[in-house]
Subunit: 195 residues, 2 copies
Amino acid sequence: MSGDKGDGERVLRLVTSNEGKAMEYAAALAGISWKVERVAGPYEEIQADTLEEVAGASARQLFAEGSVPPPFVLEDAGLFIDALEGFPGVYSAYVFQTIGHQGILRLMEGIRDRDASFESRIALCVPGGDVELLSGSCSGTIPQAMRGSGGFGFDPVFIPEGDYRTFAEMSIEEKEERSHRGRAMAALRERLARL
Amino acid sequence: MSGDKGDGERVLRLVTSNEGKAMEYAAALAGISWKVERVAGPYEEIQADTLEEVAGASARQLFAEGSVPPPFVLEDAGLFIDALEGFPGVYSAYVFQTIGHQGILRLMEGIRDRDASFESRIALCVPGGDVELLSGSCSGTIPQAMRGSGGFGFDPVFIPEGDYRTFAEMSIEEKEERSHRGRAMAALRERLARL
């Protein structure tokens, strides 16, 4: 069986060049009967309007190239701010690298509608090459200033609904319980149990 | 010969879903011995760090799909602002659609270094499938407020070096003389004459 290492332990490859993401997966997938092996990427992403398209097309492309044997997962995630027409959205990583937290806070100065959501789409490529999508989302708001040093990316400027702390003020376990990625990873764990 | 219509007039296909861009090409390529035929796209763009990569890979992909016969051109362009680490850069179209001019002006509030450049990369796919790149760039500055109603995209927030008007305050011919796209199109005209 593909993904079987002979001793019964199956291997899931996680394709990401993002250290913070890799740590969250390691924490969330510890204790399952799969060994998670990181492939450090990067892979080629298409420019598309949705996270689904980016993650799905990237996984299909990676499978077609044959460089990473399935089963493997990769994830696309983004912060969607209502008052900014969904910006930075699918381009969150690029926007973070250029204008950063301060850019987001500046764009939100004086804006009363602070609603936003963090979205995650995991593409799971199963043996044979089919690609399945697993989703997680988290509603919240943009604070007036950045807070916290945990997490990565836009975590210091996002407060999940029902909490008062930003993602960057939480432990990795607390973030997992509430976050878009935590929810998508929970769906992934469930799917892996049936694979 | 590929691109020949029998009566000696050769056909160059221009792949773009952008009306403003199509108009600028029609104006700049009027009078050459090629007939320019617009293919309204959109095509699939990869996410890459440079305009060259986006334009080149998109053209190769389009040729591989066989849907548009060469010779054809497509163009990727972007506004690169020094003080914003090159933002919005390769994602200018998306950034324009979300945070728009006002977003750019807001990010630049209080920033003294207003230097920026507009960059254009034309990918020309010649008969046989080889892809050649033609470049044009234009240095300039970001004004304190938007001005003008011509052009498209970020034209109202860009003043080319040596002028006092934004691109949006110029006629299509005046913009062509000074702009990144005008310069890339001049290189394209020269190349077509030798094709």
